[in-house]
Amino acid sequence: MPRGLGDIPDLRLEVLQGFVTKFTMPPELLLMNLFSAKQSPSSTIKWESQTGSRGMTPFVPPGAPAPQTSPHGIAKHSAEAAYWKEKMYFDEEFLNNIRKEGTEQQYLGAQQRLARELAGLVNRSNRRKEWMFAKMLCDGEITYSARSGVKLAVDYDVPTSHAVSLTTNYQWESGTERDILGDIITGKRQVADDCGGKIKYALCTSKVLQYVAQDPAILTLLQKSTFGNGDLFTGSKHGIVGVNPNVLGSLLDIENLVIYDEIYEARSWLTAAVTADSTVAISVDDVSDFEVGGTLRFHDVSAGTYEDEIISAVGTEAGTVTVSTAPSTSYKAGEDYVSMKKKFIPDDKFVMFADKVEGQDIAEYFEAPYGITRRYGLKTDTHEEWDPEGIFIRVQDKGLPVLIQRDAVYTIDVN
């Protein structure tokens, strides 16, 4: 008489019930859509600028000849566009024999698979574009080193007075003399004094929003009994911090206080074993996009666990990411991997900028032509191999965000 289940494991009914995904949705990218795009006829982009003055006509005695003055000149600027692309290959064996995830019996159609991977490549390309905008606004420069030897550095030459780093006592999280409102007003005045622009956008992450929303001085100001309406915690609230950024934007007189938490990820396989409590120079397959100050996450694939350490150095030539403290677990080469997730806007920056100065955009995205047919903008395509049968899918784009008004941006390193 059969009782229980243990005898014949193959007869035990186990049904695949679903497919759970994480970080596969298309990103909500903000910056790459904020500024207008222009098509440049070549990869070298040129533009000119003129800085006027607020000069005044001098007094002269009656009967005297008028003193001579002179018109303003012109400045020439140029930039070279960046090019990024990648491809993925699938052979017929792979495409013909893949099960659809989350199902037990269904074949995942080749076209569906390719479309999904192509969408993923497009997301990756757009994140690179967004990353360039974020770097331009937050750091005033783009630096990039790839494992293959490609090194790239674009300096937007933002004046140092527009990139302020607060000293310990003035830092927003717990500085004893912190003055968040004062720092922001100083920034707004600096931009107005230097280029006549009015701050229209302020960007920060939810972490900085938390500092602002928990600041005693700002909380006092927003009370009903003083200046505000007591509505900081009502209305269109932020999903993580639970306060209404519009109320803060209104207090600060910034039209768009945007809380931007979108992230990008760099991931790389370990190429040498990591010994617990010992190895700090971590050899990886690809050091591109790992950054000093970022958090390196060690993934133990077989155990399904991870731990985090802070990156203290990145050695592009040696292919190493150095962490300040060795991880407490050992990791295997070729099996385990490391990753770094980072927000486009760093967790310690408050970025303000005027979108226009004298009616002109402060930044533009210049698309440059590439390919035999002089294409502009993001392009995806496929290439079929005849023997053995296979298909490449590819994404490419070329262009550069350019900061035309360098002094219309003001960044505060708040922590």
Binding site: E14, R147, W269, L270, T271, D286, E317
Partner: protein, 223 residues
């Protein structure tokens, strides 16, 4: 997958990523179709391969995983090895796990290796007994396994030829494990390629010498 548990529990699996091997154009690589000997389990794309040089075996000239030079016993990818489970006793009996015993057939020539003893040629396998003991298989060899080879020293046996790398496996294949292992057919890269070093398995400095390969930064290239 039959999990087979009778106690309330939750299992979380780990994600196995696809590898990207080539940095150069895969179409330009020089490659040959090969047959992989059975019993070595799943071999990942980029694994260093060797050739079975046991001339009297029917496995002669089949490709097998290359055995890396490091022999500490802690190596993560030791597909080529069958670690002994009983110390050598100066007899022609070599005990390995039953699964590992399917890496060999009668006629294959094997050698004994450990971290600090010169490798010993055990000659051709004359018998493999997988039934006497439920815990191990006993391989009978032509030459005796000396008592210097011990489990404490991570001694193992490997096929003749496994210490000479001949190429790089181009795609992941499953050669099977245990009684039902069938081997696999695949393509092996012989040259004219740049690989991402991190995607290669067991391509150590001795393997690069065998392949006339070199490294540049994070890449390994074969001309």
């Amino acid at each position: 997958m039959t999990v087979g548990r009778d106690i309330p529990s939750v299992l979380f699996g780990a994600q196995d990523e696809y590898k990207h091997l080539y940095e150069s154009d895969p179409r330009a690589a020089l490659k040959l179709p090969v047959t992989l000997q059975s019993g070595f389990g799943q071999l990942k794309m980029g694994t260093a391969l060797a050739v079975n040089t046991s001339s009297s075996s029917t496995n002669y000239n089949k490709t097998i995983p290359y055995d890396q030079s490091a022999k500490t016993g802690a190596e993560a990818s030791a597909d080529a090895r069958a670690y002994i489970v009983q110390d050598g006793a100066g007899t022609t009996s070599v005990s390995v796990t039953i699964d590992d015993s399917y890496k060999f057939i009668v006629g294959d020539e094997i050698q004994a290796i450990d971290a600090d003893t010169t490798s010993a040629d055990l000659g051709a396998i004359t018998d493999i007994d997988r039934t006497t003991y439920p815990t191990r298989a006993v391989i009978t060899t032509t030459n005796a396994l000396s008592s210097g080879y011990t489990t404490a020293n991570f001694a193992y046996v490997a096929l003749k030829g496994s210490d000479a790398c001949v190429g790089i496996l181009e795609k992941s294949v499953n050669t099977g494990t245990g009684a039902n292992a069938q081997g696999a057919i695949a393509t092996m890269v012989l040259g004219n390629a740049i690989f991402r070093s991190g995607m290669l398995t067991n391509v150590d400095s001795a393997a690069r010498t065998d392949l006339s390969a070199s490294t540049y930064g994070a890449f390994t290239y074969m001309k």
